[in-house]
């Protein structure tokens, strides 16, 4: 966000002296008022107490101090002057605020994401995506969308997805003659999928601050994530088709539809090869239970895998899980670049090869989502496992990263996580203050007494979050807003999971538009484009996202279908 400073630094160095004085004086005056109250010189009505909290927070934030510090100072001032809560509780809360095991998923996911970004996983996923959809309209642009969706399934952060995919595919796109703004627009918006497709740091933060289930949120994010990826792909396809952008040439003078068919055929083969252990399990089941019918055992294994959450903890299920992982490791080692087989030609061969090269990264999806869903790990453990796994893949399998790079990755992950954890602790303080003042309950009561239903409430929430997205970055918004809005949503009968997905999609939109869209800044750095130009480039996809936001808001089924189907409620 500092990039904006350099752009708008006025020509007149004295410009805005009065405004600066106001910015500094407002919080000082507000704090002064609190102290006057403390010494009994003024008195506040309950309504004024509430407004003081928010005015103070807003005034502090406007000075440009870190959001965490603004939160902390507000709470500190308020507890000291306007309540009888001993101040030591504030210090204690700074410690106990982190004492939830779930929060630790955040640093682990950041660490895993860093290893994946540095470890060349993205490069291989892009190759796979290109072999799959590159020959359609939109070519590399479409593969960028698919690659972002794939990378989002292993990484929990949007900017990380933009960096990982964008820094590889943007130069390639420019070299192939795509307009720079086309590629930059795609990567900025598709990178936002990072927090919608699980794992997702934003969802962990939401779950922690509202006490919802991380596992459910992750599962619920899959369908909206894929739907948004499809819509972004459709937008890309349409724009590319209208402007006649290049595609990846089809081999051997065949038509594009032949190429699509061939790629699909390759994908099906990959799928069959991946699920091979399930067939083995079926055969074993047949041998060990001679009496059972073929179809019952087959459906038992294939569907048991996806539809019974306790299946993997059964003896047969666990053996199958281990067998599957071992099989994929074996296949990932053996299959790449050996497809000289007669039945694999052209695109199918490309898909086959690039799939088995990138399968190491894709395996992480199974570990995280499968592991959490099946109850093998808690989300935090899954995050730690994925960090270790990503380290092994980056350093020992792909070898894009040496052991000597590890301390630097650790340090930068620790830096980012500590920043987030610091906001979390201070946001916990703030939400403690909110509960102490009964603000969410009062808000809910007011909303209901005004006769506002869930429809208008969600509209208000969307507007509020989109506005907040203009000035703050997503983690702070979630941590500040979720504890306030969540109780109201519950009172109005909105599903907690649906509300979480809604907030996540909102955050995605906020990341893609100025003034503080993080994705935008990251993408502008990679694409070497100015923010203003990039903002225009993003518009078609941003429009798609906004339309999608409305769908997500008013169609809870989209978010809830998968958790319901899997019997998670």
């Amino acid at each position: 966000m500092n990039a904006a400073i350099d752009q708008t630094a006025g020509s007149d160095p004295r410009h805005g002296t009065g405004l600066a004085l106001a910015i500094i004086l407002v919080p000082v005056v507000l704090v002064g008022m609190c102290f006057l109250y403390k010494f009994g010189l003024v008195s506040f009505t309950p309504g004024m107490r509430v407004s003081i909290i928010f005015a103070l927070l807003l005034a502090m934030m406007m000075t440009g101090m870190p959001v965490s510090i603004a939160l902390g100072l507000t709470v500190l001032t308020f507890t000291f002057t306007l309540t009888t809560v001993p101040l030591e509780t504030v210090a204690l809360k700074l410690f106990t605020g982190l004492e939830k095991f779930e929060i630790l998923a955040v640093p682990f996911f950041i660490l895993a994401g860093n290893f994946l970004t540095h470890g060349g996983v993205a490069k291989r996923m892009i190759a796979f995506a290109t072999s799959l959809v590159g020959h359609l309209f939109g070519g590399l642009g479409l593969s960028a969308v698919v690659a972002c969706a794939l990378f989002a399934a292993v990484s929990g952060s949007s900017p990380a997805t933009v960096v990982a995919i964008g820094s590889v595919i943007l130069p390639a796109m420019v070299a192939q003659g795509y307009p720079r703004r086309f590629g930059a627009g795609i990567v900025t918006t598709s990178g936002a999928l990072g927090i919608l497709i699980p794992p997702s740091i934003a969802m962990v933060l939401y779950a922690v601050s509202t006490g919802s289930s991380i596992g459910k949120l992750f599962i619920a994010g899959i369908v909206p994530g894929l739907a948004l990826a499809f819509l972004l792909g459709l937008t890309t396809w349409y724009i590319a088709r209208k402007n006649g952008y290049p595609r990846v040439p089809v081999e051997g003078g065949r038509t594009a539809s032949q190429a699509s068919l061939s790629a699909f055929y390759g994908l099906v083969l990959c799928f069959i090869a991946t699920t091979f252990p399930l067939f083995i399990g079926w055969v074993i089941g047949l041998i060990t239970n001679p009496g059972a019918s073929f179809s019952a055992l087959f459906t038992g294994d294939v569907f048991g895998f996806i539809s019974q959450s306790n299946y993997l903890n059964s003896r047969h299920g666990f053996a199958l899980f281990v067998l599957s992982v071992l099989w994929l490791l074996f296949a990932g080692y053996l299959f790449p670049n050996r497809a000289k087989l007669g039945f694999l030609r052209h695109e199918a061969a490309n898909v086959w090869n690039s799939y088995w090269v990138s399968v190491w990264g894709l395996l992480l999806v199974i570990i995280v989502i499968g592991g959490i869903y099946a109850g093998l790990f808690t989300p935090t453990e899954a995050a730690a496992m994925s960090a270790v796994y990503a380290f092994v893949v980056a350093v020992f399998v792909y070898r894009d990263m040496g052991l000597k790079d590890v301390p630097r990755v650790l340090l930068s992950s620790a830096n980012l996580s500590a920043m987030l954890l610091y906001i979390i602790t201070n946001a916990v303080l703030f939400s403690f203050l909110m509960t102490y003042e009964n603000i969410p309950q009062a808000l809910a009561g007011w909303m209901i007494s005004q006769g506002l239903g869930w429809v208008s409430f969600l509209l208000v929430v969307n507007v509020l979050l989109l506005l907040a997205g203009n000035v703050m970055e997503p983690s702070s918004i979630i941590l500040i807003m979720a504890p306030i809005l969540f109780p109201v949503a519950m009172k109005l009968g909105i599903d907690p999971i649906h509300f979480g997905i809604l907030m996540t999609v909102n955050m995605e939109v906020g990341m893609c538009h100025p003034p503080v869209g993080l994705n935008l800044y990251v993408a502008s750095g990679i694409a070497k484009m100015g923010i203003t130009e990039l903002t225009k480039a993003v518009l078609p996809w941003l429009g798609t996202m906004l339309a999608f936001l409305i769908v997500v808001t008013y169609w809870p089924g989209l978010s809830l279908i998968l958790p319901r189907l899997l019997g998670m409620r």
Binding site: N2, T8, G10, G16, L19, A20, I23, M60, M61, T63, G64, M65, P66, V67, I69, G72, L76, E88, V90, A91, L94, F95, L98, E99, F101, L104, P107, L111, T117, H118, A127, F128, S131, G134, L140, P159, A164, S167, V168, A172, Q176, S354, V357, F377, A384, M385, A387, L410, A414, N415, S417, A418, M419, L421, T425, V471, M472, E473, L518, Y521
Partner: protein, 197 residues
């Protein structure tokens, strides 16, 4: 002297995050090893029930010292829509004000934390699983906050003297572009590997 402190800080937080990750990994492996009959006797020799608590404490320490490191690297982001409208002169005053507020907050918290730790150390409170005296993990609050306060003052001082602010480059959030292998930056064939045929 300062450089030693910087280095210690970096080593501490990098080690803590690595150790905590490994700790969780080992405890998960241990849990599943205990279910395999052959490995059970070996797995049973170690009691790892304390890992979760230790891991949380490690992360609290990592968070507190990492936050101080974050001040030095300028990663703590704020809302800058207002101050961006200001000219150079007034803006630096507002920024200085913000930095000093940071120092004030962390200083107050550090002092509160110190008195809190002192109070706890007079009791015989121990943690649930590790059974260490509770004031030892709590020590992270005063130490981390004071260090952070020092960092804020340091940044403010440097800003006042030179007008330079530590700047966490957003475009290098995960810093891939400068770490790419040379062959990736300027590939002979600009298309990703899968496209080549």
């Amino acid at each position: 002297m300062l450089r030693i402190l910087d280095r210690l800080e970096e080593i501490l937080i990098a080690t803590l995050i690595a150790a905590a990750t490994l700790l969780i990994f080992v405890s998960v492996v241990h849990r599943y090893a205990a279910t395999v009959p052959v490995l059970f006797p070996y797995a049973h020799m170690f009691d790892l029930s304390w890992t979760q608590e230790l891991c949380i404490y490690m992360f609290v320490w990592m968070a507190k010292f990492g936050a101080a490191y974050g001040v030095r690297t300028g990663i703590h982001v704020g809302v800058d829509v207002m101050i961006n409208r200001l000219g150079f002169g007034p803006r630096s005053w507002v920024i200085l004000f913000g930095l000093l507020c940071g120092a004030l907050f962390t200083g107050v918290i550090g002092t509160l934390g110190a008195s809190f730790v002192w109070a706890v150390s007079q009791t015989s409170q121990t943690s649930n699983d590790l059974e260490v005296p509770m004031w030892i993990p709590f020590l992270a609050i005063p130490l981390g906050s004071y260090l952070m306060c020092f960092r804020f003052l340091q940044v403010a001082f440097i800003f006042w003297r030179t007008g330079e602010l530590p700047h966490h480059d957003q475009t290098h959030v995960e810093g891939i572009t400068d770490d790419l292998h040379p062959s990736d930056v300027q590939p002979a064939d600009p298309r990703p590997a899968g496209v080549r045929s």
